[in-house]
């Protein structure tokens, strides 16, 4: 009876509404992204040529950290107010609402990051050839990062200081994504074929979208035992 309203679409809509109500909080990863990108010239050098060399990697690392920060709270509020428990006893497959939540999360973190990246690219002297590949790779990559991060968030949701542990768990799993993400941008800048690495990113995204919800569902059932 409740089932129809609480599937993939239901949770997607609800999480978007919740994010909208917490707009300030939700904007922080984006602001973080912009702020730390400013640290780089301050910490290294304002020299355009040097920045251009490092730009793809830096932007990717910053996007990764910003996504990591935001993943911490993916399941936290649901765990605290009992919504997670209700989710566990709902009749449909747990994987679907979970995907809805993650999509909402990406729409609210990964997508803004992707859209702001040309601005950051400009600030860090990213060559023009790299701008489109940067956006494409970030779009696909941050979706991957949201999915993988959600696995870590599910495993650590019941822990008090889960944030740091989440980073420890999830960063090794992030490494392939950043390798291919920044390689796509760098290849484009060097005039090589950048669709190859992008295709690999797409493949990773498909695999993650298929497998992560299962791991997340298992982890959520597990940690609600506390």
């Amino acid at each position: 009876m409740i089932a129809e309203s609480q599937g993939f679409a239901g949770y997607l809509r609800r999480d978007l509404l919740l994010a909208y109500r917490r707009r300030g909080e939700v904007a922080s990863p984006l602001i973080f992204f912009v702020l730390v990108s400013t640290l780089i010239p301050l910490g290294i050098s304002p020299d355009s040529a040097r920045l251009a060399e490092l730009a793809p990697g830096i932007i990717w690392v910053m996007a990764l950290l910003a996504t990591l920060l935001s993943t911490e709270t993916l399941f936290a509020s649901d765990y605290q107010d009992g919504s997670l428990e209700q989710l566990l006893i709902s009749p449909q497959l747990l994987a679907l609402p979970v995907l809805g939540k993650i999509l909402a999360h990406w729409l609210v973190t990964g997508l803004p990051l992707t859209l702001v990246s040309p601005l950051i690219g400009l600030m860090l002297s990213l060559p023009a050839a790299g701008l489109l590949p940067m956006m494409a790779s970030l779009a696909l990559g941050t979706a991957c990062l949201s999915l993988i991060g959600a696995v870590g968030a599910a495993l650590t949701v019941s822990l008090r200081k889960g944030g740091l542990l989440l980073s420890v768990l999830v960063i090794p799993l992030y490494m392939p994504v950043i390798i291919f993400g920044s390689a796509a941008v760098q290849s484009a800048i060097d005039g090589l074929n950048w669709l190859g690495p992008l295709a690999v990113l797409a493949a990773m995204l498909s695999a993650a979208a298929a497998l992560c919800p299962l791991a997340i569902a298992g982890a959520l059932r597990l940690v609600s035992n506390n």
Binding site: I2, A3, E4, S5, S77, P91, Q92
Partner: protein, 179 residues
């Protein structure tokens, strides 16, 4: 059916096992004679569980929360009526973080009016609600039983309801519950 037992005896755990929020390490839960795994959708679609935590989202209003927790076919009028019945008239549009704990409880209990589930699992439903609320809830429970529904609740209160069976939950003995 009323579950009784000392604090920590395992009433909440038992209820969570029955609603499949928790998986048993051994043994099975049967619904109408079949293991819950086999008729999962049927069973879970037909139950309502209100646990210790209210399941109420603080930044949504009472009306939004109730709409989320009710079947899709519930009309706005029914929702308004349900909130009215628990004494929240006038508070329906306010975000729940500005309501008291007792009022959160009432939002959760408003589900009982809009739900079409046949089996209700209520874990300590009388916490934080006042005398009028207790009476209201009792009436609702009786009405539900009259309609042929089932209620399993754990509470320390005495409930003058016809046909109420009591089971004592004791971690040191085996419990056999024919449901």
């Amino acid at each position: 059916m009323q579950l009784e037992g000392a604090n920590g005896a395992g009433k909440t755990t038992l209820m969570r096992l029955m609603t499949s929020a928790l998986q048993p390490t051994s043994g099975k839960v049967l619904y109408l004679g079949r293991p819950v795994q086999d008729c999962r959708y049927e069973y879970l679609d037909n139950i309502l569980y209100i646990g210790h935590q209210s399941g109420v989202k603080m930044i949504l209003s009472a009306e939004e929360n109730l709409r989320w927790m009710s079947p899709a076919s519930t009309s706005a009028a029914e929702i308004a009526l349900a909130l009215d019945a628990v004494g929240l008239r006038g508070y329906t549009d306010v975000p729940c973080y500005s309501l008291s704990a007792g009022q959160h409880r009432r939002v959760a209990l408003a589900r009982l009016s809009t739900s079409k589930a046949a089996i209700w699992y209520l874990d300590e439903p009388f916490t934080s609600i006042d005398k009028q609320g207790v009476l209201n809830l009792q009436h609702q429970l009786e009405a539900h039983l009259q309609r042929g529904g089932a209620v399993i609740l754990s509470t320390h209160q005495n409930l003058p309801i016809d046909g109420l069976r009591t089971y004592v939950v004791d971690p040191h003995s085996d419990i056999g519950l024919p449901l």
